[in-house]
């Protein structure tokens, strides 16, 4: 188990007061807070060895290059991938998904092909496929959920068919917390000769991840959700796929030779990293990974199961609260979406904020799922390594207060 009180000392923002109350940060599915070592890594870089990388012969550039490339290796290890040249740095998970949709998608998706998504995809793993499908005359097909918010594997086996070219699913839902049976879907996809793309934006920060165990062909995630700075996403892909794909963004650094009328592209991973990268933030991402590895992803998971189980239990005692997603904390992540009586999620969010508690309210970039749930939005509390049961208690107390403020809507 991890020592939360020790961890909290590493996060300067947790000392902050909001509306005169100690901050309780339960918006981790949107972005996580950052430990001092990550902030420090940025400072050390800018104060000590800031330089453009790869082509520089001077000491600062050599130091920056080796720190930047060192993180590629750390990421490789973190996701248990065979080769670091298959790790591509992007701006965020969204850009990584677009890279796949443009570069792999535009070369491989043909009219009549089917692209399979789940009913709980984030807009970032939905809109790029919609646009691709529209451009290519391909079709989107959805994996449906069971009433308790799990992927319906029987329906999946029925819709992943001979026309399926790719199955793109989230590793963990940012609304329901549902953990997707990625391996099973991969087997279904591969049996049809289709690829499996995993959106790890919610999964990778919270679950020990091995691309070979997942059996996926592409994995994307965002470092700002796993203690890293904003501005860094990761794309990992199988070498054969990445090698066969045309570049996406073009310009400096991704070339090996340029003439006025033609170009020879650089090898992996540079082929996919055009222009000056986000050097500082990639380097600081290395510190975030070190921090997570030191805690141990299994320990983090155990802590989150503990918190989630506790919160689900306490919420079940509140008669007017509706909780979405699986009831069993061991098959879901620490993301709890709920509604409370007739109080609009926006109002819940506002009233909790008065108590210093940060949650999210709205559609969570999952409007199709909201329609399926027949709500315009939900309130959402999401946990990470520094959250405690005491915080969950305070959160639930404040929730009851919402009922009072709003004039006991619950009992209308």
């Amino acid at each position: 188990m991890i020592d939360v009180q020790e961890i909290r000392k590493d996060f300067p923002i947790l000392e902050r007061q909001v509306n005169g109350k100690q901050l309780i940060y339960l918006d981790n599915a949107a972005t996580s807070q950052k430990p001092r070592c990550v902030i420090q890594a940025l400072q050390s870089y800018y104060e000590g060895y800031n330089a453009n990388i790869h082509r520089g012969i001077h000491t600062l550039s050599e130091e920056a290059t080796s720190a930047y490339e060192g993180v590629r290796e750390k990421v490789r290890e973190f996701i248990d991938a065979p080769e670091s040249r298959c790790v591509i740095f992007t701006r965020n998970a969204t850009e990584a998904l677009n890279l796949i949709a443009y570069s792999w998608g535009r070369t491989n998706i043909l009219p009549g092909d089917e692209i399979v998504l789940s009913a709980m995809e984030h807009h970032s793993n939905l809109v790029p496929w919609q646009l691709l499908a529209a451009e290519r005359g391909a079709k989107l097909v959805y994996l449906e959920l069971t009433p308790d918010g799990l992927i319906d594997l029987e329906q999946a086996a029925a819709v992943i068919g001979p026309r399926t070219k790719v199955v793109a699913v989230t590793m963990m839902s940012n609304v329901l917390g549902t953990i997707t049976p990625v391996r099973e879907l991969g087997n279904l996809a591969h049996a049809r000769g289709a690829l499996l793309i995993v959106d790890g934006a919610q999964g990778v920060p919270h679950l020990k991840t091995s691309v070979s165990e997942l059996g996926c062909d592409f994995l994307v995630f965002s470092c700002h959700k796993m203690l890293g700075p904003t501005g860094v996403g990761i794309l990992w892909g199988r070498a054969e796929l990445l090698e066969a794909m045309p570049p996406f963004l073009s310009g400096g650094d991704m070339i090996s030779a340029v003439w006025r009328d033609r170009v020879r592209f650089n090898e992996l991973p540079y082929k996919f990293e055009a222009g000056t990268p986000n050097i500082a933030d990639v380097i600081a991402t290395g510190s975030a990974i070190d921090y997570l590895q030191k805690l141990g992803m299994d320990n983090i998971r155990a802590h989150e199961i503990d918190l989630t189980g506790y919160a689900l239990g306490r919420l079940s005692e509140i008669p007017d609260a509706t909780v979405y997603g699986p009831g069993d904390a061991t098959c879901r992540g620490g993301v709890i979406s709920f509604n409370f009586a007739d109080v609009h999620p926006h109002d819940i969010g506002q009233i909790l904020n008065d108590a210093g508690i940060a949650i999210r309210a709205g559609h969570h970039c999952c409007q199709p799922l909201m329609r399926d749930l027949k709500v315009t939005g939900t309130a959402r509390a999401s946990f990470y390594i520094y959250n405690t049961k005491e915080e969950i208690d305070l959160f639930l107390d404040a929730l009851q207060e919402a009922d009072r403020v709003m004039g006991h809507v619950a009992c209308r």
């Binding site: 926006h346 109002d347 309210a361 939005g377 403020v405 709003m406 004039g407």
Partner: protein
Amino acid sequence: MSLADDLYRETILDHYHHPRNQGELVAPTVKSEGVNPLCGDEITVYISVDSNSIADIKLDAHGCSINMASGSMMSEAVKGQSLEQAVKTASIFKNMMLGGSQEVILPEELEDLEALQGVKKYPVRIKCALLPWNTLLEAIEQARSQDGASDNI
């Protein structure tokens, strides 16, 4: 008084719990839809216009308390007003919401709307309060252009 109690003043909660002029008009002059992309809140404003006045107005609104209350008060304020007056009322309200932080005193007939001033402290929620009004303004513009009366603007 807690922060929340200042925001959710009694008038607001009254309009929220008992929103006025909710529903649809069967044969409106125009119907206009608005959405807040940040939270997904939606509203449809129906107006029927008679001799350049808002003879009737109904709202089909699904939103938070601020959005609902603002729409409800709006429907009371503009019902019966000429299109020109309604545009003016909207601009008085928008100025209040987007202006500085001091409390503004509104004309007596718009008194209820003063309760929404607590929202000014919350930039995100100002959009909730404005949504019905912006949707109304679009409806009025549509009505005028249907009428070929855009020279009245």
